[in-house]
């Protein structure tokens, strides 16, 4: 398995410096949420439909918060399922994947999309959707990698899809993890508490900073900026381009992180 390194560049690094070096403007949580909501929806590189079906829009502290809040909402680790080849965090929690075709009926599924093993949707995604329809399985999507993706098509209106979490941190913003959970119905969980219980000044600093950053970083910044470079590198090295800016299929058909080859490593400028 390749060692994934989140890409960054001088522009993204300077956004952080800019935030720290200038006087920071306060805006209310509603404004911050609206800016982030618009930013996530404004991707032109991906085709995400059905936003209007996700009536509950809540700020999060990123996709890990989305996952943990989901687990709390399910009342524990035994009350949801995952697929194989998932985010390592689930393995740390002792979760094992259920194969497609063997999903447990009525037990909610959390799934990472795009999935870094394929740098795309899962190849079995359509089968997953069908099985979930047949077995009354709610789907919750961790879309942490969507900001670095192109050509990802998702219809959030699908009746099984109940929520999706997105985060800004893959734009070198791990130092200020913020995201949005879109859901069709709220449950009592951590994100609901942060949005509906701690309603005064909750995480103002995080959210103001996130709003400041996305006002300066175009939604599809990585692909808009580095598509040609990625294409040239793929041609030169006989790699197959994927839908993740920093992932390719290598010569031996293995998934490979090319953050350093693109000159976008954490110490590249």
């Amino acid at each position: 398995m390749t060692n994934w390194i989140i890409p960054t560049d001088g522009f993204l690094e300077n956004t952080k410096l800019y935030w720290y070096n200038q006087s920071q403007e306060y805006k209310d949580v509603g404004t911050n949420k609206a800016v982030l909501n618009e930013w996530f929806q404004s991707t032109k590189r991906n085709s995400i439909s059905g936003w209007d079906r996700m009536g509950c829009v809540d700020l999060t502290m990123g996709c890990t918060h989305f996952i943990e809040s989901f687990i709390i909402g399910q009342n524990g680790l035994d009350n949801f399922q995952i697929l194989p080849d998932e985010y390592a965090y689930y393995g740390f929690l002792g979760k094992w994947g259920n194969s497609v075709g063997k999903l447990e009926p009525n037990k909610p599924l959390i799934v990472t999309l795009p999935n870094y093993n394929w740098a795309d949707l899962r190849p079995d995604w359509e089968e997953v959707l069908r099985e979930c329809e047949q077995k009354n399985i709610q789907i919750h999507i961790d879309a942490a990698w969507l900001t670095l993706s192109k050509d990802i098509a998702l219809d959030l209106a699908h009746p099984c899809i109940q929520s999706i979490g997105m985060g800004i941190s893959k734009y070198s913003l791990q130092w200020n993890r913020v995201g949005i959970r879109y859901s069709k119905q709220r449950k009592m969980d951590s994100i609901t508490v942060f949005n509906k219980f701690y309603i005064h000044n909750c995480n103002d600093n995080l959210y103001n900073c996130a709003r400041f950053c996305v006002e300066r970083i175009p939604r599809d910044y990585m692909w808009d900026t580095y598509e040609q470079h990625n294409t040239d590198m793929c041609k030169k090295n006989n790699w197959h381009q994927t839908n993740l800016i920093h992932g390719v299929w290598g010569e031996s058909n293995e998934m490979r992180c090319i953050t350093r080859e693109l000159g976008l490593g954490p110490h590249s400028k």
């Binding site: 909501n37 618009e38 929806q41 404004s42 991707t43 032109k44 590189r45 991906n46 085709s47 995400i48 059905g50 936003w51 209007d52 079906r53 996700m54 009536g55 509950c56 829009v57 909402g73 399910q74 009342n75 192109k150 050509d151 098509a153 069709k184 119905q185 709220r186 449950k187 009592m188 609901t192 508490v193 509906k196 219980f197």
Partner: protein, 161 residues
Amino acid sequence: MGAEKVLQYSKEPTSELIKFQFVFSSTYWNTPPHIEIAIDNNVYHSGHLRHYKTPIVFTVPLTFADHTLQIKRTGKTVEESKQVAGKWETQSCAIESITIDGINLRNILWSRSTFVPVYDSTQSGDAVVNGELIFGYNGTFNLDFTSPFYQYVVDCVRGAR
């Protein structure tokens, strides 16, 4: 892919689908207690309890508004109680737990529910008993709540209700 930027700002939903989970406990030597569970006067379960534990689960669509959960307990008559070797054997009925939208209500039941007993001609007592989950008498358990349910819980914890 070049999808056009189309912002689809959605309105917050106006209803939700809520799972209700009940666990009743019961003992009897003759006939089991009968319960009828209704929300806003719509009956979602009606039947006798089993010995010891009876779980009941159903899912209900709720509009974002005020609602009332009612549990009507019947079947307790004088004939259900008898003395055996100096001890009373009778028909008992109690709520062990009510879990709504995944939240075990516990303290909320204790502090916000009421039970209205139906006394027979030989019995007397309070017209309304607060927080009673053990139904020695026939009667009706009531819990007023609101939807969205998470907001009701938040408001209860915050003391806004």
